[in-house]
Symmetry: C2
């Protein structure tokens, strides 16, 4: 006995006359003059099924007991609807199924929220009843999109000679492992595994191992305080290749991304992707993940500001800071309140304030205007392309702060002016990241990416003179203001690695202590290699047009890393901890632990499968 010959959402006029068996859930039921109409839903959509006592008295009687979310299986004939009852909102709207036989496979309690799209229900309720939330078409569509996206990634990588290789989840804690999840075990008292923050080390070892092209859709873990867009476990498409140059790899990855967008949501992404150096991205957009769907570029005026009578401009410029301007075109009519709000906005990003100038009726107005010399106004007008109606927003500070303030202001203004087209996908590669950054506290350089990131060949001589100026063969892929991927070419030559360690303040001996077997591995004939990792959850979020990573994950954690459905994490039995050779340390002032008592509870354990 087959419970299904067809799927609800796929029936069309071409099926009229066929006898079909359908199974699914009751979306809606209504009785019209003794005839029962039920919308039956499965993964593919909805179809109207009709119980008329004239066709089958028995079927009508059984169906009459059905309520929302009951599971039914029905057998009947596909027929045309009366044209006046066509439902143009669903693909099956011109047909219905005249039911001869029905079975209630399972009844259902009334769900805590309606099983439909666009519901306004607290997310905590949706997560607690995730198994019902997942019945909603928009959730199912997102998970199907995710599955399809994984397939596109895999098919492309398979076709290009990449081997899918699984790397361990139970691995080793790395020094400075504050963000590692640790795992005790029965067999190894006082020792711990760590869950991987990424398969970075393994993928490089696979290149040493001659596998040449590796990929994995890998689960990664970080025990961090969570922001809205982070999950304690997340998925990345992890890729590494040997014998490819940076440009060969980036071009291949562009092809992959273009294919991904075409085959999942049918969008054509033009190639080649724009490339911006890190420097350019920071200067023009105040961010290394700029939203390039709109212009509003930031302009440097430090040279003009140097001789300015605006005290703060002159002194910042003298102290090596920068003065930059965002010309908010057409915003001269901002209210007093909007202008006043600029100061706290700047402060949120570490700035002290923002100077503003409005251009109205041909006149520059604002607190600082009186300090401008006419030739400065002329210079600014030319450089900033000042026109009637503009609002000029000035930030003067250390470069990093100015970038942060104006970068974020740019996004705010762009949104406010409606410059952002949500239907556009604007990719760019950010390249030439700095290899090193100066750590004020440690008084030494630290690796921006990691200590195996390869410098640009033409910058190698700078190790001796100006390490901070070395550009790395590192790259990020950004999309609409999000970082959706990132990676680098790796150092594979011993002399370059030694220079890198020297710049970081390590002797080779110290380095060996820290990086142990990885440096050993590199001694045995390491090929040139490099790779990238795509943030899979975030890509799916953008593909699906959602704004929350949790919408892309079947069973996500909340912002405090817990699962309200499963009640995880949770207290465990005393015996379990004893077997693992650990005990808990209560938080000072916390209630003492009340571990679960062990009982006769061996049943939930899923066996075998």
């Amino acid at each position: 006995m087959t419970l299904r010959t067809h799927q609800c959402g796929t029936l069309t006029k071409a099926d009229v006359g066929k006898e079909v068996t359908l199974s699914g859930w009751v979306q809606r039921y209504r009785d019209l003059g003794g005839v029962l109409f039920i919308d039956l839903r499965d993964r593919t959509g909805i179809v109207q099924i009709v119980f008329n006592p004239a066709f089958s008295k028995e079927a009508h009687e059984i169906a009459d007991r059905a309520r929302s979310e009951y599971v039914l299986t029905v057998r009947g004939e596909v027929v045309h609807r009366d044209p006046e009852t066509y439902n143009p909102n669903i693909p099956t709207g011109e047909i219905e199924v005249r039911v001869k036989h029905v079975e209630i496979l399972n009844p259902a309690k009334t769900p805590p929220f309606p099983i439909e799209d666009g519901i306004d229900v607290d997310e905590s309720v949706r997560l607690k009843y995730r198994y019902l939330d997942l019945r909603r078409p928009e959730m199912q569509k997102t998970l199907m999109l995710r599955s399809k996206a994984a397939k596109v990634f895999r098919d492309f990588l398979d076709e290009n000679g990449f081997i899918e290789i699984e790397t361990p989840i139970l691995t080793k804690s790395t020094p400075e492992g504050a963000r590692d999840y640790l795992v005790p075990s029965r067999l190894h008292p006082e020792e711990f595994y760590a869950l991987p923050q990424s398969p970075q080390i393994y993928k490089q070892l696979l290149m040493v191992g001659g596998l040449e092209r590796y990929y994995q859709i890998a689960r990664c873990f970080r025990d961090e305080d969570l922001r809205a867009d982070r999950q304690p476990e997340f998925t990345q498409v992890d890729i590494e290749t040997s014998f490819l140059s940076r440009d060969e790899l980036l071009e291949m990855m562009e092809e992959l991304v273009v294919k991904l967008f075409k085959e999942t949501i049918g969008v054509d992404i033009p190639r080649p992707f724009q490339r911006l150096s890190y420097q350019e991205a920071m200067d023009k957009y105040g961010s290394d993940k700029p939203d390039l769907r709109f212009g509003l570029e930031i302009v440097d005026i430090t040279d003009i500001a140097k001789g300015s009578d605006v005290q703060v401009f002159a002194s910042v410029a003298a102290q090596g800071g920068v003065v930059r301007v965002l010309n908010a075109k057409g915003c001269a009519n901002w209210s007093r309140k909007e202008l006043d709000d600029l100061k706290p906005f700047a402060e949120r990003y570490g700035g002290k304030g923002l100077a503003w100038v409005t251009v109205k009726d041909g006149e520059w107005r604002g607190p600082i205007v009186k300090f401008f010399k006419p030739e400065e106004i002329a210079a600014l007008t030319e450089r900033l392309g000042v026109e009637e109606g503009d609002l000029l927003l000035f930030s003067a500070d250390k470069k990093k702060i100015v970038c942060d303030v104006l970068g974020n202001l740019r996004l705010k203004v762009g949104r406010q002016l409606g410059l952002i087209d949500d239907s556009v996908f604007k990719f760019a590669w950010i390249v030439d990241f700095p290899l090193l950054s100066w750590d004020e506290e440690a008084k030494r350089y630290v690796a921006e990416h990691h200590p195996f990131t390869r410098p640009r060949d033409e910058d190698l001589h700078l190790f001796d003179s100006d390490p901070g100026a070395i550009r790395a063969q590192a790259y990020d892929l950004v999309l609409n203001g999000y970082e959706v991927g990132g990676g680098s070419m790796r150092i594979y030559k011993r002399d370059v690695q030694e220079k890198m360690f020297k710049a970081l303040g390590f002797t080779m001996e110290q380095a060996r202590e820290k990086f142990g077997f990885l440096l050993d591995a590199f001694e045995y004939g390491t090929p040139p290699h490099g790779g990238i990792a795509f943030g899979f959850d975030r890509l799916i979020m953008l593909l699906a047009g959602r704004t929350n990573l949790r919408e892309t994950i079947a069973f996500p954690k909340t912002a405090n890393a817990s699962d309200p459905m499963m009640d995880a994490p949770s207290r465990v039995e005393r015996e379990q901890l004893a077997e693992l050779h650990i005990r808990t340390v209560p938080k000072p002032g916390a209630k003492p632990q009340q571990p679960q008592q062990s009982g006769q509870q061996q049943e939930l354990q899923p066996q075998a499968e």
Copy 2:
């Protein structure tokens, strides 16, 4: 500058005349009269490259410095070899590459073992230098086979409407979680996540959630004492469907398996697969995962033994035990030592001994023969098909013990007699497992699979009369004596679930305490569903013709669950444990813990990617 236009192992006579760029490792080098021949190896195989000072003095000089495992990139022309130097052992044996340009990309230390197949090196050394072990062709072939197998699984499941869905790794500890790995975290003092032993609960919730067809190539974890064929983390192909019957699912899975074997190793597996009830498998082969590549069936003679003068036969039969015989055809000439070894062999499986009878020169010999009555010999001769040269092996005990003893003896004899054809893949479904088994200690029934396993419809009435006789809609897929998959249909009807809990000795209230939200979930319209999980590591092992799971995993753990390459698990910094609100408890008598001191060690941390 491209490092590769072609791959070493794929060049053929069709490429003669082409200029190619190759990159790879030096497998072998030899100087013949001033001309240097190097076997260059990449992932695809080996090609001979030739450095003749007559073609390029510079290239010859550079190449002369190359040693084993050096990484080279070369450019040159593909030419025919002299026919007398053809190498029929490699696919590229009729050509060679005349090198004009060479670059040493990286030198290499001499590896601790040769990079070639079939090496006789201690596995601990191979695991410590796994990144070199992985260069060996047989390891690379196995990993490529694994990648290909995953693709076949995925393609088939995608084509059949299955959605790939990732379920959490950080999940909840289940009652009786002795085998769970637990994970503390910074955010949740005194609480723990657990790593999943399988996605069992999630996949059932996905069915409640209406996803209808789910799969995942899922990592699973068990903190067990490890046997040779277990890993603390392992991979299973996890599958669940709604609205399919057991037979519909099994047929689909057969199709999948046939496709897997065809597309990975080119072997045709005949369908349909044999089906054996659990009862039949135990009776005939003494095992629920019988090796069906040979016969040697076990035969029950309890009825004959009942009236026997062989005391132990009669008394075992009287006490409800069984007497069974393995007729080891043609083994009558076993030595005294072989016969004496039978007793310790039986004892290993809980038996007390084995009685034997040899049939030589038409005569039955052995210690028990004198107790046989002529009509018993006649009955045995007929039932066992006794012939000249046979060795009859009798086991009398509780049924479970007899099955274990004779089942293992059957394997031993089968191997010894050369009855096992290693080139044959013999699949079977074992079905109709018992739903419940009696727990002597707890004095109650326990679930054989898990408490949501669906009973066979025709056995439902036995809940009231004979619960132990109920057969489950559970099934295992066995291949050549290994269990390679297993699953069941699940209970979805409340009344059946209540009967099941009652049989297990729980009230619904107790059950709700134990199974909590899962039972809640089942109240909201659960579809009929069921699934299966394939042991991916073991399938790959059998596909690759290996005998050790570790050979199928890129970075496996040793038998004591450690990784000698990474040195995991390992001690961690004191601060890390404090942040996780735990401390370690030394084993009684163990040395006190010496945690690592935290240092200026923030570098190994792989960033971003």
